[in-house]
């Protein structure tokens, strides 16, 4: 596993030197969505809560950076702490009210919160620019350079993966699993299921904010669609494609989704139809995601190699 991880790190580190400009842009987009998907899955995998409102954390961080840069002339990179703080605050508010509910009711409430934030952003022309968004947000220095942004995004992905790995092994990570497996039993060993679910929501939302910040650096602009339900849906699709049970599944799913779209669009205008068919096939035949395809192949090849 460590050898595979080291090989993947080397490939990812060398990738920008073998990609042309467009390929590099696609790679950055895949990394940003990867950060978002890993962050989303921290909540989904560990607590079983399916949030349809993570666009609110992603988009609020993006808008915080955009507003500070465009209105207060802040240095782009200096906006990161405040962008993360706003994402955390948004996650705290949504999480506090939503985790009291379960299953579809939780999902619908998170969606409602995100849609409210989208509606405000969409209509508040004087502050957010409404549906015109905020443009011309070219970051200076490292983040303004495609290779620099690629490596910054790669480091962000590595950081998020490291945080998730550490949390999963910690008592708090085990507690989240306990709450997911049996909340009543968790309460009966002295754990407040509510407090831990809110904490997981805030951590997941804050890390999603990191993806939102990188999104602005990549896109040089923000629009209300960053807060729209389709953004929440996109990250869920990435997680389904990659497989939520596999550690790197969401990041791999994000890469598959981002790479697949231009490939399909170059052949047909019916990208949503193609995506729907891929999702249908995944859910019906490979519910554990694309990572399970490789593992199945490895399992089939192992006995042959041994023979």
């Amino acid at each position: 596993m460590r050898a595979k991880l080291a090989l993947a790190a080397v490939v990812l580190a060398l990738l920008p030197w073998f990609l042309h400009d467009y390929g590099l842009q696609v790679a950055i987009q895949a990394l940003v969505l990867g950060v978002f998907a890993m962050s989303f899955n921290l909540l989904f995998r560990n607590t079983g809560l399916l949030s349809f409102g993570h666009a609110a954390c992603f988009g609020s961080a993006a808008y915080t950076t955009a507003l500070l840069v465009s209105k207060l002339r802040w240095n782009f990179a200096a906006t990161l702490p405040l962008a993360l703080a706003v994402a955390a605050l948004v996650a705290l508010v949504i999480g506090f009210f939503s985790v009291r509910l379960t299953k579809i009711y939780f999902t619908m409430l998170t969606l409602a919160f995100a849609q409210m934030l989208w509606a405000v952003t969409h209509k508040w022309y004087g502050f957010t620019g409404g549906d015109n968004g905020i443009t011309g947000l070219l970051p200076p220095g490292l983040l303004g350079n495609p290779k620099g942004l690629y490596y910054a995004s790669l480091m962000a992905l590595a950081l998020v993966c490291a945080v998730i790995h550490v949390v999963r092994r910690s008592p708090a990570g085990y507690t989240l699993r306990a709450v997911r497996d049996n909340p009543a039993r968790a309460e009966a060993i002295g754990i407040s299921a509510f407090a831990y679910m809110v904490a997981a929501f805030v951590l997941s939302g804050t890390l999603s904010g990191l993806a939102g910040f990188l999104q602005v650096a990549w896109q040089h602009s923000v629009f209300p669609d960053l807060l729209y339900w389709t953004t929440s849906a996109e990250v869920i699709i990435a997680v389904i494609l990659g497989g939520s049970a596999e550690f790197f599944g969401p990041a791999i799913g994000a890469a598959v989704l981002v790479v697949l779209e231009p490939v399909v669009r170059s052949h047909t205008q019916y990208w949503p139809l193609a995506l729907g068919m891929v999702l249908l096939a995944m859910v019906l035949f490979f519910p554990s995601g694309v990572v399970s395809l490789f593992q199945r192949r490895q399992r089939q090849e192992a006995p042959r190699a041994a023979a």
């Binding site: 008592p171 085990y174 009966a188 407040s192 951590l203």
Partner: protein
């Protein structure tokens, strides 16, 4: 002063009176049983004491402290261990991880998001001690999802013991067990409590098991107290004989 006092508690569900004006007192060191058929109100009373249900009326006192409206996760920290009727410990974890987590929860160390759970050696040592009490040493590295019902009950009791309870609450500890396993479980609980000196309040509808294990018994019938006393008093109680022991008064 009794360790646990329940004062005139009542509970209704959508107009149905599940429990009506029930009081009991459990002395420290005693083995107290709530007996009755399904629907008698045993589990409702259990869930009211453990804070899972809200009281409509009455009070619950533990060691003189009012715990009537205390949520379950806080009740544990007063010294009450809880084991549920459907024993489903955390299935994705091993027996040792289950009990270590319960030990850490009591010490409020589950708030740690950074240090690995396995590095809490003191907690693991305490967990291993508890696992040996319930006789699961050989299975401590097993994922609980793969365990049979009898062993799951023991893991669930181990989770309850991790809270260093002065009072152990067991809801139907024999539910789902085969006849041979039931006799084993009764012996196991009696031995365990004798060695630990913990007070026990348990619910059970297996009359024979209750009469074997308990020192005092409350018989509930349709949400009300039918009788209360020692096993001998319960055996000879005319209404209990008529209703549960299959004999005419």
């Amino acid at each position: 002063m009794p360790l646990l006092e329940v004062h005139r508690v009542s509970k209704s569900f959508e107009g149905f009176r599940a429990l009506d004006d029930v009081s009991l007192a459990v002395e420290e060191g005693s083995l107290y049983a709530l007996m009755g058929p399904n629907g008698a109100g045993k589990s409702t009373l259990f869930n009211l004491i453990t804070g899972r249900y809200k009281l409509d009326a009455g009070r619950v006192l533990f060691a003189g402290q009012d715990i009537s409206h205390t949520p379950t996760h806080r009740i544990i920290h007063y010294g009450i261990g809880i084991s549920f009727q459907r024993a489903i410990p955390f299935p994705s974890m091993t027996v040792l991880e289950n009990v270590t987590l319960a030990v850490l929860a009591l010490d409020k160390k589950t708030r740690d998001f950074a240090r690995p759970l396995h590095s809490y050696l003191d907690a693991a040592k305490r967990a291993e001690e508890i696992i040996s009490w319930v006789g699961l040493n050989d299975l401590k590295r097993q994922v609980t999802a793969a365990l049979p019902q009898g062993d799951l009950k023991r893991v669930d009791i181990a989770l309850a013991l991790a809270s260093k309870p002065r009072l152990l609450l067991l809801d139907e500890p024999l539910a789902g067990l085969a006849r041979a396993e039931r006799a084993q479980m009764v012996g196991f609980i009696r031995e365990l409590l004798r060695s630990l000196g913990t007070t026990l309040l348990f619910t059970e509808h297996d009359t024979e098991a209750v009469l074997q294990l308990a020192e005092r018994i409350m018989v509930l019938h349709r949400g009300s107290v039918l009788a209360e006393g020692t096993p001998d008093e319960i055996r000879s109680h005319p209404q209990v004989q008529e209703a549960f022991l299959g004999r005419e008064a």
